[in-house]
Amino acid sequence: MAYDKFNILTSTAVPLPIENVDTDQIIPARFLKATERVGFGDNLFRDWRYNHDNTPKADFVLNDPTYSGKILVGGKNFGSGSSREHAAWAVYDYGFRCVVSSFFADIFKNNCLNIGVLPVQVSAEFLEKIYAAIFADPSTQLEINLPEQTITLLPTGEKESFDISVYKKDNMTNGFDDIDYLQSMKTEIEEFATHLPL
């Protein structure tokens, strides 16, 4: 599915300083019943965000007007658990284009990269700095520079670089996906398949 190209993102950020945020929290299983990709943003963090009677929980950060922006800052081991891409869709559809954490679960990270959400892994120290800055001043802006592979706390200019493969970076800056690439090598794949042992 096509997504918006990613280049340089400057935005305020939403802090969620919880570790091991699993995909069942990001999008509970009962919201996986759609046969189309619609409405997932509404159910992002559903059970942390809403009470059983669907009234918003005032103490959850997404319901707190103090914090907003296109960047979600999560605790260590973000996105553990299920392979449901719906979790990444929910993050994207809600309006986030980037998730920052000190550690990501593998499949979630892959899913994000495939649908246009940039996972930015920073050191534990830098993560603490980001939280401190946002809590001190929620209007704090972060700059995510994909071509340069850097994340900068704009008020102080402190920055860190992050990893991403050249291939994925290329995809994200152009809004391409893997299927476009694979389809271009169809003959090679078919030829390869004839030599497999199984």
Binding site: M1, P17, I18, E19, N20, D22, D24, Q25, P28, A29, R30, L32, K33, A34, T35, E36, R37, D47, H52, G75, K76, N77, S80, G81, S82, S83, R84, E85, H86, A88, F103, F104, A105, D106, I107, N110, N111, N114, I115, S165, V166, Y167, K168, D177, D178, I179, Y181, L182, Q183, M185, K186, E188, I189, E190, F192, A193, L196, P197, L198
Partner: protein, 470 residues
């Protein structure tokens, strides 16, 4: 250069290496189900693409399906809609479809091995993270997202960075009452839920060599719970005996050719892993989890650790214990149990029902417990009946449900009510996993059986003699 088992299988499947990027990996077998495939098919359509090898993909309905009255129409319109989409998409693209009511229907990771779709040395993916189950056969098997499902349908390949390698050795033998599930929960409690992120694990050592295929599947199934992309065990005689003669396994000459390949699937003696752990099998106790991730597990006779003793932030730890209604230092023995769930792709195989039955035999279900016993497939269901297990279960006050994922992720009606405690043989104790507000304790079928008849958390070893175990 010496290679690991993982290297051997991986390298055989690399179609192309992309400079500064992932490898293009050929996928031998693709399993799909109703929840993570509909959007992939939509994507395929909107691109005007088709399925490259329909005979390499197999569809089964499991996540959403009811586990009683499967002959009736599915009442939830959204679930019914997903089941219908799987059926229509499979038909349109010529994919084998084992829908609800089909004799081969069951949990995707239970039926794959049963029909011989799972083979040593193959690459297997599915839009479900517990695809790691199939690693028990010496296959590279892992869960993928929906974009990747679309990718495999369109091109039979996916793009993957080769993960790092880890070996986990368990030496010696297991004590009585200690099952493969306990081994897995033990490992995860040692490594934490992110301890193997970025790695592909090989399990080795005597404990796994002696383990049945069912047990190996349970262990490999849980690899993802320590963050690993997957886990695998080198194929051996136990493996070949299991796969021989199944519907989709190679026959005659093809079998000989496959066997020649399979016999090469061992880690070379001097191969080096990026990380290696060794544990003593005899030190493992029956395990139970007390928190809201599978890494929060402990020997059943221990006390819940203090926040300082565990990795991670104190706030996260306290949030977790609060959710469970437990406190640091509590003993787990004697904790109340309202629900018992035996099933899922982790522990929904025949051996699990044999273990459960061996403990409840001649006893009676506790009145305060609601028990859901859900076989992983129709084959398992039939075996339970043929082996006389159903009679023992019935005698003890239990009923058997029909195959499906059920309370593992509670997408159907099998939901544990808010605040209630469940001892579950499934794989995740995340907040709300078994229903909003549900409190899950993960354990083996034996610990589940002990809970089911005493109505509280009980060490199964206090209820049965070593000789009574199957």
């Amino acid at each position: 250069m010496s290679k690991t088992l993982f290297d051997k299988v991986w390298d055989k499947h690399v179609v192309r290496k992309i400079e500064g990027g992932p490898d293009v990996l050929f996928i031998d077998r693709h399993l799909i189900h109703e929840v993570t495939s509909p959007v992939a098919f939509l994507g395929l359509k909107s691109r005007g693409a088709t399925v490259l090898y329909p005979n390499r993909t197999f569809a089964t309905a499991d996540h959403n399906t009811p586990t009683i009255n499967q002959h009736l129409p599915v009442s939830d319109p959204l679930s019914a809609n997903q089941l219908k989409a799987l059926e229509t998409n499979s038909a349109e693209y010529g994919i084998s479809h084992w829908g609800l009511g089909h004799q081969k229907n069951g949990i995707v990771h239970v039926v794959g091995p049963e029909y011989g779709i799972t083979q040593p040395g193959s690459t297997i993916v599915c839009g479900d993270s517990h695809t790691s189950t199939h690693g028990a056969f010496g296959a590279i098997a892992f869960g993928i997202g929906t974009s990747e499902v679309e990718m495999v349908l369109a091109a039979q390949c996916i793009m993957q960075q080769k993960p790092k390698s880890m070996r986990i050795n368990i030496t010696g033998s297991l004590g009585y009452g200690v099952t493969p599930k306990d081994v897995a929960l033990f490992i995860i409690s040692k490594l934490t839920t992110s301890g193997a992120t970025g790695y592909f694990v090989e399990y080795a050592g005597e404990v796994f060599e002696k383990m049945s295929m069912e047990g190996r599947m349970t262990v490999c199934n849980l690899s993802i719970e320590m963050g690993a992309r997957g886990g695998m065990i080198a194929p051996d005689q136990t493996t070949y005996e299991y796969v021989a003669g199944r519907e989709f396994t190679p026959k005659a000459e093809a079998w000989d050719k496959a066997m020649a390949y399979w016999l090469t699937l061992k880690t070379d003696a001097d191969a080096v892993f990026d990380k290696e752990y060794t544990f003593d099998g005899s030190s493992i106790e029956p395990m139970i989890t007390y928190g809201t991730n599978p890494g929060m597990g402990m020997g059943i006779s221990n006390a819940i650790p203090d926040a300082e003793q565990v990795e991670g932030g104190v706030a996260t730890y306290e949030k977790s214990l609060n959710y469970m209604g437990f406190h640091e230092g509590d003993s787990m023995i004697g904790k109340p149990v309202d629900y018992v769930f035996v099933g899922s792709c982790t522990n929904g195989r025949i051996e699990d029902f044999r273990a459960f039955t061996s403990l409840i035999k001649g006893k009676h279900k506790a009145d305060n417990v609601t028990a859901w016993l859900v076989p992983g497939s129709h084959i398992v269901e039939a075996q339970i009946k043929e082996e006389g297990l159903l009679d023992i279960l019935t005698e003890a006050g239990f009923t058997l449900r029909q195959p499906g994922c059920s309370a593992c992720l509670a997408m159907n009606d099998d939901k544990v009510p808010a605040g209630k405690y469940a001892v579950s043989t499934s794989n995740r104790n995340f907040e709300g996993r078994q229903g909003p507000g549900a409190r899950t304790m993960l354990a083996s079928p034996l610990v589940a059986a002990a809970a089911a008849i005493t109505g509280k958390v009980t060490d199964p070893r206090t209820l049965l003699q070593e000789k009574e175990l199957v």
